[in-house]
């Protein structure tokens, strides 16, 4: 896909550099590479940057930032930038699948003509990539779901699902970061808290990270849950 990046105004205090309108690892890699470049020599007045699937939103103080210079810099760099491929971190996240931990597992497996065990194997065999974090604190949108188990969202969203829910919706996968509403399907639950305001670090994942899921049983759950509540990460860094 060759398309010139577009600079989109977001009022006087922000802009978005849009590389495309698809969910695609190359587009996302360019977003992250451009952000790296910008943060390496931040322009005067820069407030913060928000990388998403396919665009980089940049917030700045319009009384300090030279908009024309910033737009020219971004246009020039965006045209030639290579996707960031050095993925830094891969997290192994333990998951109890099915039963009370993942009440949609059997139904989703049925929809695809799979046994629950086959669904677990397919879901836990993939390497997921964190495309972006949004929607709620620490909520990581994961790409890499095996197309065989892509499942349209529920017609009736749930008002509340627990933090740590392992969910899929359409072609996307995620770990619920805090308790909240969701129209995605619940396959399991992890004791890992991807967001814990009192913990250092408060956020487990960043855009560009990778995630793999490791099935565990309900016995292992209890001790890991205790450790997580005591402020431990529980997720493990593994070598890619």
């Amino acid at each position: 896909m060759v398309r010139t990046a577009r600079i989109l105004p977001c009022g006087d205090s922000a802009l978005s550099v849009e590389f495309g309108d698809a969910i695609d690892p190359d587009l996302n890699g360019k977003v992250l590479a451009l952000e790296d470049l910008l943060l390496a020599s931040p322009p005067a007045g820069l407030i913060e940057t928000v990388p998403t699937y396919r665009s980089l939103t940049i917030q700045f103080d319009p009384t300090l930032t030279d908009y024309d210079a910033l737009a020219a810099f971004l246009t020039e760099k965006a045209a030639t930038i290579a996707p960031r491929n050095a993925i830094g971190r891969r997290w192994r996240v333990p998951v109890v699948y099915g039963g009370a931990f993942g009440e949609d597992l059997d139904e989703v497996a049925g929809q695809h003509g799979l046994s629950p065990q086959q669904l677990i194997e397919i879901h836990s065999a993939a390497i997921y990539r964190v495309y972006m974090i949004g929607f709620m604190p620490g909520f990581a949108y994961l790409g890499g779901l095996d197309p065989r188990i892509a499942t349209p969202r529920r017609t009736q969203p749930r008002a509340k699902i627990p933090a740590g829910s392992i969910i899929i919706g359409g072609a996307q996968a995620a770990v619920m970061s805090i308790e909240g509403p969701s129209g995605w399907h619940l396959l399991g639950r992890t004791p890992v808290r991807s967001y814990a305001p009192e913990r250092d670090p408060a956020f487990l994942l960043a855009a560009g990270d990778e995630v793999v899921f490791q099935p565990i049983d309900a016995f292992q759950w209890a001790s890991l849950e205790r450790a997580a509540l005591a402020g431990e990460l529980v997720a493990e860094l593994v070598t890619p």
């Binding site: 989109l8 105004p9 977001c10 009022g11 006087d12 205090s13 922000a14 802009l15 978005s16 849009e18 309108d21 698809a22 969910i23 407030i47 913060e48 940057t49 928000v50 990388p51 998403t52 699937y53 396919r54 665009s55 980089l56 939103t57 917030q59 319009p62 009384t63 908009y67 972006m132 974090i133 949004g134 929607f135 709620m136 604190p137 620490g138 909520f139 949108y141 970061s177 805090i178 909240g180 967001y195 305001p197 408060a202 956020f203 960043a206 855009a207």
Partner: protein
Amino acid sequence: MTELVVKTCGPMTTLQDRGRLGYQRFGVSPSGAMDKRSLALTNALVGNAPETAALEFMNLGGTLAASGGDLRIALAGAGATLRIEGTAIPPHTTAILRDGETAEIGHARTGTFAYLAVAGGFAIAPQLGSLSFHPRSKLGGHNGGSIQPGDRLPCRAEAQEGAPVHFTGDLPQLPDTIRVMLGPQDDYFTEDAIRLFLESEFTITPQADRMGFQLSGPKLDHAKGFNIVSDGIVDGHIQVPGAGHPIVLMRDRQTTGGYPKIATVISADLDHFAQLRPGSPVRFRAVSREEAVAAAREAKAWIAALPDALIPVRFALTTEHLLSTNLIGGTVNALAPKVADA
């Protein structure tokens, strides 16, 4: 430790400062005061930096008492009134709340959000760099929540001395239209929708809170559907979901979203927009980047000049006294006999 004791308050009373910057990449809303200009004014009156955390009252006022020492306080925004032990404090004037005395904050009259600042600020630890309470993130606030009756807010005991001051400057002129810059996704709308958006009157609906203000008015049609691949959101973005009715995204907004944004309220007009009450009409006008940036410079200069627009109050703090010394500019007694033009 001097404390501000909350006796009564409305359900949406929160601590707010400039907001939590730098964590949107982790999905954390910036939050912050809905009307940062009023926050700056009330802080200036007690000698604080413009973005120091203050109590934000939404619609309803409350009663507060000083405990363990005296406090210098001030109130601004939403036309709310301040009384201490029953005595009215003139608008935009510092007041001393003596140990044991009670301050009464009236309900909002001309807007929605009022701010009460304490000299020296609150002795409450920030979370991720801010005291601003954001319910969904469970960050900031006092004891991790909004302000509740019975709360005792510890105050830094600094800067409680000095004469009260009164703000004598002009409040910024309220624009009769809210200025916007088109984009980022104005190309997702029909030409008719853009024209309707800029030429029609909309109404603020009761669905207006710290996250966003839902508007009613003519339906705005999408030209390319109403789902986009989620991208970044900023304060003042005007998103238009499938039903075609705009929502102006405010301080507690999400950080990313999947509806097209037709336009963005310019930063200088967002404080004013935040004070529009449900039922208020609102019109939008598209402006150039040059005009928006010039307005941002003006707004910043107004805040920077606040300390120069304060004069000491040397008399008893009564409205009558201030009226007699002509400290309150522009106040008219509607009951007074009309004086013939000189």
